[in-house]
């Protein structure tokens, strides 16, 4: 048992080493060199350099790097990171000073307290960004006012004095703190970089760019954002808990909401989109402080206030220039127009043909908006390997029907059964997981992502090891799964004929290509039922053949397809069965020929006029 586990671990380590060696390049050597140089700074006893100030800056950089995940990937403007640092700092300070805990467990407890606070206040991640900003701003003030109001906890204006205790078994000198902070910063940056490259980063960025589209592909907004927000909070808490040990005193005055703002400034200044941006921003603020100090003394201004003003002005300046920050700007200088090329994949061969067993059954669906009944008593059955077309005049309730089946809105009455299971009350994300995918009517795509990445967002619901922690640790399973997900996404692209455009940024695709991309992303969720809204909208006659072939290929894979379509030429090509809606009810149902011959349908489409 143990031997087998060890053998497996050994094999994984060897495989990881091989992968690492394959990717190792001059950049990696440069990074290791720079890191070693940085680690040697405290031993160099440079004139005018205070190691404790440097260590403190590194702890701040740690908190800022964590914030980068919230601001950069998730796009949430958090003004409350200082509050989480304060919670970590005072939790650990109280445990060390009052309960006599050693430093390391106290620091972990501080991180845990900050994590708890992050989870409790984490409900705000579901809100619009303006509300996220205002809630986190209030949180920063709440924690600060609490510390001021309760001197029995915060030590009042003197703060809590901490006894000197060993850190990682060593005398807690500034140098030891510096090395600990540097190690934590590097590990955090690596973990965040891995998470950003993996499923969490991709899905967070998808949610930031187009929440509706990401939700339609089964990405859970609340879960993904909460994970990032809470992880940021915990890391900020850890940074605060350790920094307070370095300072030797927990002083409420240093957790003014300005701290939160300064961290946000650092993130934006250094570049929220880059993992190393926030740390660079902290370094830049530190340098500015070095210049601002003497200047303030020259002008007879109190230094602390001056620091504030400089940071504020600087930020406004950076933002006014529309800048993305220092690191993205530097990266842009170095790397220009590089785009990797990969071999085009072929679509996977279709699975063995399946019997036309029914997979989704809707009965008596009804939905009213105010007094207007959009869908009234709609019943529908979709079977594997069968393409059903939902047609009808404008305003007949087609899109509402699609929304009800996909879970985007819930019916007022009626039932939806998926493979014998009642799914009437479930919402989009869980229905995607159960196998119902839908493309949206608009030609939206995630504009900051490539075609392949767009499709990978849809692949997310089939991942089992794509959580934040696993992705950040790059566990063997997560890495294997990432590789498999990429293969599946490439095959989905090939199925719709976009295999040559895998690495093309989404905005460079034409609008009909973007429609196909949306179809590929929906296919990547491995649906049993695929709902397609207006595939042929705006398509020229010459494109119809291609579209029909694509629908045919999807159909061959045993997927139950429901197309809502205005283009009756496409309907005639692909539909096995046609359902005609008018004023929210089914007017006729049957094969294309039957429906076309029906006099009620002719009346609905042509009116009662005789030609």
């Amino acid at each position: 048992m143990t031997v087998a586990a060890l053998t497996r671990t050994g094999a994984e380590v060897r495989r990881a080493a091989v992968e690492a060696r394959a990717r190792w390049g001059p950049g990696a050597w440069l990074a290791v060199g720079a890191l070693l140089l940085l680690a040697a700074v405290p031993f160099a006893s440079l004139p005018g350099v205070r190691v404790d100030a440097l260590a403190n800056t590194l702890y701040l950089a740690l908190a800022a790097t964590a914030l980068g995940l919230t601001v950069g990937s998730a796009g949430l403007p958090s003004l409350g990171t200082g509050a989480f640092m304060a919670i970590g700092a005072f939790t650990s300070a109280l445990l060390v000073a009052r309960s006599g805990w050693p430093v390391e467990p106290a620091a972990l407890a501080g991180a845990a307290a900050a994590l708890a606070a992050g989870v409790i206040s984490g409900g705000v991640v579901r809100l619009r960004r303006a509300f996220v900003a205002v809630s986190t701003w209030l949180l920063a003030w709440l924690v600060w006012l609490f510390l001021l109001a309760f001197p029995s906890i915060s030590g009042g204006s003197q703060g809590l004095i901490l006894p000197q205790k060993t850190l990682v078994g060593l005398e807690p000198t500034p140098t030891v703190h510096f090395e600990v902070a540097l190690a934590l910063l590097v590990l955090t940056a690596l973990a965040i970089a891995a998470a950003r490259r993996g499923a969490p980063g991709l899905e967070l960025s998808a949610l930031r760019q187009a929440p509706a589209l990401a939700t339609a592909l089964g990405v859970s907004l609340a879960a993904r954002r909460l994970a990032a927000f809470a992880a940021s909070a915990a890391l900020a808490g850890l940074a605060g808990a350790l920094a307070v040990q370095l300072q030797g005193v927990a002083d409420p005055a240093s957790y003014d909401p300005f701290l939160s703002f300064k961290l946000l400034v650092a993130v934006l200044l250094g570049g929220a989109a880059a993992t190393l941006g926030p740390a660079t921003g902290i370094a830049a603020l530190g340098l500015i402080g070095l210049v601002a100090g003497p200047l303030a003394r020259l002008l007879h201004l109190p230094f602390e206030r001056f620091d504030t003003a400089v940071a504020a002005i600087l930020l406004v300046f950076v933002l006014a220039l529309g800048g993305e920050g220092i690191v993205p700007w530097l990266v842009g200088l170095v790397r220009r127009g590089e785009r990797p090329r990969r071999e085009a994949a072929a679509p996977a061969p279709p699975a063995a043909p399946v019997a036309n067993e029914p997979v989704l059954r809707a009965t008596g669906l009804r939905k009213a908006f105010g007094g207007v009944v959009a869908v009234d008593g709609l019943s529908l059955e979709l079977a594997r390997g069968e393409t059903t077309a939902l047609i009808g005049p404008n305003g007949s309730g087609k899109t509402t029907a699609l929304r009800l089946i996909s879970g985007a809105s819930l019916p007022d009455a009626g039932e939806i059964e998926l493979a014998g299971r009642d799914v009437t009350g479930t919402r989009t994300a869980s229905r995607v997981r159960l196998g119902v995918a839908r493309t949206l009517q608009t030609t939206s795509a995630f504009t900051e992502l490539t075609a392949l990445e767009n499709v990978l967002v849809g692949r997310g619901v089939r991942r089992r090891y794509g959580g934040l922690v696993r992705a950040a640790l790059a566990t063997p399973r997560a890495r294997r799964e990432a590789g498999a997900a990429e293969d599946a996404a490439l095959q989905a692209l090939a199925l719709v004929g976009l295999e040559r455009d895998a690495d093309t940024p989404a905005p460079e695709l034409t609008s009909s290509q973007r429609r196909l991309l949306a179809l590929a992303a929906a296919l990547a969720t491995e649906p049993d039922v695929l709902l397609v809204d207006e595939l042929a909208a705006g398509a020229g006659a010459e494109e119809l053949d291609g579209l029909a072939a694509i629908v045919e290929r999807i159909h061959e894979r045993g997927v139950a397809v429901l197309v809502v379509e205005h283009n009756l030429r496409l309907v005639r090509r692909v539909a096995d069965r046609v359902v005609v809606l008018a004023a929210g009810t089914v007017l006729a149902e049957g094969s294309v020929a039957e429906v076309a011959a029906s006099s009620v349908v002719q009346q609905a489409y042509l009116g009662t006029q005789r030609l």
């Binding site: 409790i120 809630s135 701003w137 509706a212 300005f258 109190p302 940071a311």
Partner: protein
């Protein structure tokens, strides 16, 4: 009973000021969809400019206020508050709104907030200042306090309550009836539509940014002579107003004002009410309402506050 009356009067007086701040936040949110983080500090800027013109940075006596100079000082302060509000919109909010950058206006307005606080702190370096009293409340009753059924109540409180209610009603009436108010409501309803039919959206909104500042500043000036002021005064008043506005999810002006009144009374009750030997005390005054509203918004958000997903 005595204490209840005292709590009610002082709470309503404080709450009236919070309420007018809340009206400002609410109106700005409804017009632009942004939260103006520098709002409280801009009002603080107006208050301290008034103080600067009136008496410089040295501590002043109450007597200084009776001079005709007070009117001049008040006008300068109001003008600066209005202009700074307009400048904030034109320079820091509108450019980012048109670019669709949330982080831009969040960081921009927060930057202004901290910069103003720093500037006030650097100019007025004592820990607190007394704001001279423009009105002779000091001579009413026993050095400014009146007895009311056994309770000791600040005479100023009645004036502040009356003024705040009058201002709130006036602004609600103004929004409802005047041409400018109708324009603002059109913008709040549908900015693109308003622009399409020829409403000068940018101008109206910029003016609104200035006017809500003046509104809040008048209330603050009426209330501050009662207590010591420092660089945090505007910030904290703004914070209370924001809490009240958030509690009603940036609802209509009169809702926001009412929320401010309620917040004031709750704060006074937390600080003063004993219930059978059990008392929360002044330490909880600032913290509890803030924590409550924060939990409310985090755990039970209203549908319109949620990120649009469909």
């Amino acid at each position: 009973m005595t204490i209840a009356l005292q709590v009610l009067v002082s709470g309503l007086a404080a709450g009236g000021v919070y309420g007018l701040f809340a009206v400002g936040y609410s109106l700005i949110y409804r017009l632009t969809g942004i939260v103006h983080f520098a709002f409280g500090d801009l009002v603080g800027l107006g208050v301290f400019t008034t103080l600067l013109v009136l008496a410089g940075t040295t501590p002043v006596s109450r007597a200084g206020a009776t001079e005709p100079r007070f009117l001049l000082a008040l006008l300068v302060g109001l003008l600066l508050c209005v202009l700074a509000g307009i400048a904030t919109y034109v320079g820091l909010v509108q450019p980012y709104l048109s670019r669709g950058s949330t982080v831009g206006w969040v960081a921009g307005t927060a930057a202004v907030a901290f910069a103003i606080r720093a500037a006030i702190g650097a100019t007025f370096q004592r820990s607190s200042y007394v704001f001279p009293d423009p009105l002779p409340f000091h001579d009413v009753g026993r050095s400014g306090f009146v007895h009311l059924g056994g309770a000791q109540v600040q005479a100023r409180a009645f004036f502040v309550i009356g003024l705040a209610v009058a201002l709130a009603l006036a602004s609600a009436w103004f929004l409802e009836r005047s041409r400018y108010g109708r324009g603002l409501r059109a913008v709040a309803d549908d900015a693109e539509g308003a622009r399409f039919v020829g409403v000068p959206v940018e101008l109206l909104v910029a003016l609104a940014f200035g006017l809500v500042g003046a509104l809040a500043m008048i209330a603050a000036i009426a209330a501050v002579p009662g207590e010591a002021v420092n660089a945090n005064t505007g910030t904290l008043l703004g914070l209370k107003g924001l809490v009240a506005a958030l509690a009603v999810r940036f609802g209509p002006p009169l809702h926001a004002f009412a929320a401010g009144l309620v917040l004031g009374v709750i704060e006074a009750a937390i600080a003063n009410v004993h219930l059978g030997g059990w008392q929360l005390g002044p330490s909880y005054r600032e913290v509890l309402p803030l924590a409550f509203v924060l939990l409310l918004i985090s755990l039970r958000p209203s549908p319109e506050a949620l990120e649009e997903r469909e």
